[in-house]
């Protein structure tokens, strides 16, 4: 379950990849989007994956509906970074959907959805909470709810080793596992001639630290005036970054490239990738860059870069937020072709554990293990249905009339509706 399967962004992309990979291996996969704000998903979805939107926000609601939509939900705390999205209507639709999940494996993929699952998903389902962010990045109200509820999940899956230790410490008794996101396959884009280009990519938000990267690159340009920085992505920070570029007279050297659907080609022809984030979960674009043999320069921010990179081997790590150090590391890479080649080929090897082939079996092993535990504990398996290949525990229940529901709220089976009024699901 995603908040917005129709959006752009690292979490959305990796969860869709994961759903596609599971479907390709014969599993029955439903991809649930709590919200729908676009007609079409931005990333390709395997036709075997059923995409189920729970609320449709494509049209500007007006009047009573708009006022309803503006009301904040009651479960997800305001500190959730996407708390604006968790209106009462959304929370209610998610709760209604969850009430109908009574077997199979439910994977929720961000704190707001995890907290709703902890509250509303019935015990019958195997519940897995996925966390794409490190514990310290959550605001206090979200952390408190995590500490309170995450132990009720069958498993909590995080992206890095550092995160695993943190969540284990914070939530005693929770079963925390580390499974990294899989990097998407780029179908063999061969690195061509690389230009005098340093590439960065991400939403233009404070988190990505482009406001630190631009001044760092100003120092680089003073020494290497024939090099460019290209920042791919869109977001609310665009006007501020544009002003910074003008103020530093970098309009010939730093370019806000906007959105691209050919990031692989761009990564393959850049001479270096730079990550300037203030924090990360697991920086997937960085790993994608590595899979193209592109050398990495990165802040050693929490968490991710240090999990993936070894400083001086497959990339350069500099203290988080240290602009002069970032500039020095970039200048080092730009000025030393041999270093770039060495870092690049090591990066290619460093990306191997993040391929689909390496990651998907870890999920399968986890789900099989959880299903086995369930069966062992209950004596009788609700999930095991005759003739359910290849992994009986993963099957979804048939739910009434899903197709007819269209983009609207998922209906709750009649039996459930009888003893639980969905209108007061929140």
């Amino acid at each position: 379950m995603l908040l917005h399967a129709y959006g752009m962004g690292g979490t959305i992309r990796t969860v869709i990849n994961q759903a596609n990979a599971m479907a390709a291996r014969g599993h029955d996969v439903e991809l649930v989007s709590a919200v729908r704000r676009r007609d079409e998903p931005q990333f390709p979805i395997d036709p075997r994956v059923r995409l189920v939107p729970l609320t449709d926000q494509r049209e500007q609601a007006s009047g009573y509906r708009a006022r309803l939509a503006a009301r904040r939900g009651r479960v997800v705390p305001p500190g959730e970074y996407k708390s604006d999205w968790f209106t009462r209507g959304v929370e209610r639709a998610v709760a209604d959907y969850l009430a109908g999940v009574w077997d199979g494996v439910l994977v929720t993929t961000r704190p707001g959805l995890n907290l709703l699952a902890a509250r509303y998903a019935p015990d019958g389902a195997i519940r897995v909470a996925q966390e794409h962010m490190n514990m310290a990045s959550h605001r206090p109200d979200v952390r408190a709810e995590i500490v309170r509820t995450y132990r009720t999940f069958d498993a909590v899956v995080v992206l890095t080793h550092g995160d695993r230790l943190e969540y284990e410490r914070a939530v005693p008794g929770a079963r925390v596992l580390r499974i990294p996101n899989a990097v998407h396959e780029h179908g063999g884009v061969r690195p061509g001639p690389r230009g005098k280009v340093v590439l960065a990519a991400g939403r233009l938000t404070e988190q990505k630290g482009f406001d630190l990267l631009v001044p760092a690159f100003a120092r680089v340009v003073a020494e290497h005036p024939d090099w460019q920085l290209r920042i791919f992505g869109t977001g609310p920070g665009e006007a501020g970054l544009r002003a910074l570029i003008e103020e530093l007279h970098l309009y010939n050297h730093v370019f806000l490239m906007g959105r691209t659907d050919r990031l692989d080609d761009e990564l393959a022809k850049a001479s270096a990738f730079v990550l300037s984030s203030r924090f990360e979960g697991l920086p997937m674009v960085m790993i994608e860059a590595m899979s193209h043999g592109t050398p990495i320069v990165s802040f050693d921010c929490p968490t991710g870069p240090a999990d993936v990179l070894t400083d001086g081997v497959d990339g350069l790590l500099v203290p988080p937020g240290d602009v002069p150090a970032l500039a020095d590391a970039l200048a080092r890479v730009i000025g030393d072709r041999a270093l770039r080649e060495r870092l690049g080929s090591a990066a290619l090897a460093g990306a191997a554990p993040y391929t689909r082939e390496a990651v998907t079996p870890q999920w399968e092993a986890l789900f099989e293990d959880l299903a086995r535990r369930r069966r062992g504990a209950a004596g009788v398996s609700r999930a095991a249905r005759p003739g359910d290949p290849p992994a009986p525990g993963f099957r979804r229940p048939r739910r009434v009339d899903r197709a007819a529901a269209g983009g609207g709220r998922a209906p709750v089976p009649a039996a459930r509706r009888a003893n639980r009024d969905p209108r007061h699901g929140g």
């Binding site: 230009g195 003008e246 309009y251 010939n252 370019f255 490239m257 906007g258 022809k269």
Partner: protein, 190 residues
């Protein structure tokens, strides 16, 4: 490929617009004499404001005789009330440019880019005039040789202000949809 003046850097600062680049697909004469290389900006005619790039380049190939002063190409009649009447020739601004082999370095004061006749706003298309093979050639300026296809949204330059009639005119270089270089003159916010 047609000859053109490939732009590499644009510096809109300190009251000037400076343009640095290389002449492409043409070898300029080695010792052409003073004023042989010039930056020429041609004001688009009001009647065809949507025309850009190549269409204009063809029209601008007219005789390029010796000129002096920033508004040498301006028509004789003074500004008319509706500003679009009777202009026989497009207004032009000429500015100095240095040429070293194929590399050019040109610069124009932004004050020269306020049209002398007609409306105070408009769009200037930028050309580089060089001597090659003993005759004067007028080359459209643009940036087409790199791997960024759509520069109009990616390579964005700051505006500089010129006071006019108690208001501010904003002068801003930009790439057209064909990646040619033009300069917009627009009213700033009051």
């Amino acid at each position: 490929m047609k000859a053109h003046a490939e732009v590499e850097q644009i510096w809109p600062r300190d009251g000037r617009i400076r343009i640095i680049g290389r002449v492409h697909n043409l070898t300029p004469d080695p010792d052409p004499g003073p004023d042989a290389c010039r930056l020429v900006l041609v004001l688009r005619q009001r009647e065809d404001p949507v025309r850009t790039g190549a269409g204009r380049a063809d029209r601008a190939k007219g005789p390029a005789g010796p000129r002096t002063g920033p508004h040498a190409g301006a028509p004789e009649e003074s500004r008319t009330t509706d500003g679009r009447k009777e202009e026989a020739r497009a207004q032009e601004v000429h500015a100095g440019a240095a040429l070293d082999g194929h590399a050019f370095d040109a610069s124009v004061p932004i004050g020269d880019l306020v049209p002398a006749h007609g409306s105070l706003t408009g769009v200037w298309d930028a050309y580089l005039v060089v001597r090659a093979g003993g005759r004067e050639r007028r080359l459209r300026m643009g940036r087409v040789l790199d791997d960024i296809p759509d520069k109009t949204k990616v390579m964005i330059f700051p505006a500089q202000a010129v006071p006019a009639d108690d208001r501010l005119l904003l002068v801003r270089p930009r790439y057209t949809i064909r990646n040619n270089l033009s300069v917009d003159v627009e009213w700033g916010a009051r």
